[in-house]
Symmetry: C2
């Protein structure tokens, strides 16, 4: 018999389609993720993911970085917006802004991202195209804690995808995305249920059934 | 019914234990690798792999880089030594020298190496330690064509290994080595039997049973 786990208030930040956001929300709705998704927030008002979130009954918000004079003031307002909703953990899902220490200090070791490459290979934009151009045979994705670099924080989990000889960017991205959509909810669940310990750059996952 | 494939004269270059050299020689002796290992050559006279090669009945040679005034002259002598033995393909197995274009021009697209990391991550020395220090969850190894960079040539094959929470450098290196010892003969066999096409940085393996 397992004990039910309290649901942790989280926010999901997007800038576009928010495919991984949908996977996280669905996992929360299905009971596979012990999360209360308080808000899906976009820095772009035209992000298609906002409508998807609303259709799933999740509150949405827009905080445009264009309304702020600099990164620091945007990040302070972003942290305030999440704090006001009681958010404890922040999941990035295609959020195309590098967060400053101003923001990260407010959520220490509680901001998570997924990147479509086996970091430290191919950080930044167009990771799948970078992988194809380099000619790797194994691609994948990485769930990591966010620091103030670009895809440089401690790694929580990785998944692999074989590159096929006839892959183009779209076909490879689609197969990686299928792995992302499983890996991200699973890893976030481990974090929310206290089963991941962070020690410097190494992270250790303790045994648990992740029930919620 | 399959046709026997002619055995290709190869050299294996080592600087130390030559663990992967032993795996390649064994594969050739077992008939899994269509190679006639003409020589195992070390740039260090004290490389323990030389004795292992001799025990398996393979001719050995030493060409010490200390006997040459510069890289170019060493590389020219090395190419001459291999040419004189009719070598067509060169397999590096822990050979700790970067080869110059002087050498590589003599064996275009015919020098192969294996590296204990998922390149382009963690090139150079102590790849397994680099991986542990970074905190990746998936490690592995890469068979690649050699160019004049450090572990930068076109990738032929990659294999993965899960990093365990209690791994140290030795335990991770041992599990990667087990994959190396399978991946290297298999990939070299594909190359020797003409089943790998190189197009820029991307390499394509055609279908074939690799029989020999």
């Amino acid at each position: 018999m397992t004990h039910p786990t309290a649901r942790v208030p989280i926010a999901i930040l997007i800038s576009g389609r928010g495919t991984n956001m949908v996977a996280l929300v669905q996992a929360a709705l299905d009971g596979r993720l012990s999360a209360d998704v308080r808000v899906v927030l976009s820095n772009r008002p035209d992000a298609p993911g906002l409508a998807h979130a609303a259709q799933m009954g999740i509150p949405t918000a827009v905080l445009s970085h264009r309304d702020f004079p600099d990164r620091e003031s945007f990040d302070a307002a972003l942290a305030d917006a999440l704090d006001s909703r009681g958010v404890q953990v922040v999941a990035l899902a295609g959020f195309m802004r590098v967060l400053t220490p101003t923001f990260l200090r407010r959520f220490p070791h509680r901001v998570v991202n997924i990147h479509p490459a086996l970091l430290p290979a191919f950080p930044g934009m167009h990771a799948q195209r970078q992988a194809l151009d380099y000619g790797v045979k194994i691609a994948g994705c990485t769930v990591h804690l966010v620091d103030d670099g670009t895809d440089t924080g401690p790694i929580l989990a990785q998944g692999t995808v074989e590159v096929r000889d006839d892959d183009d960017e779209a076909s490879l991205a689609a197969r990686i995305l299928a792995v992302e959509n499983r890996l991200y909810p699973d890893t976030l669940q481990a974090l929310l249920t206290g089963r991941i310990q962070v020690s410097g750059r190494r992270t250790v996952r303790s045994i648990g059934d992740g029930s919620c």
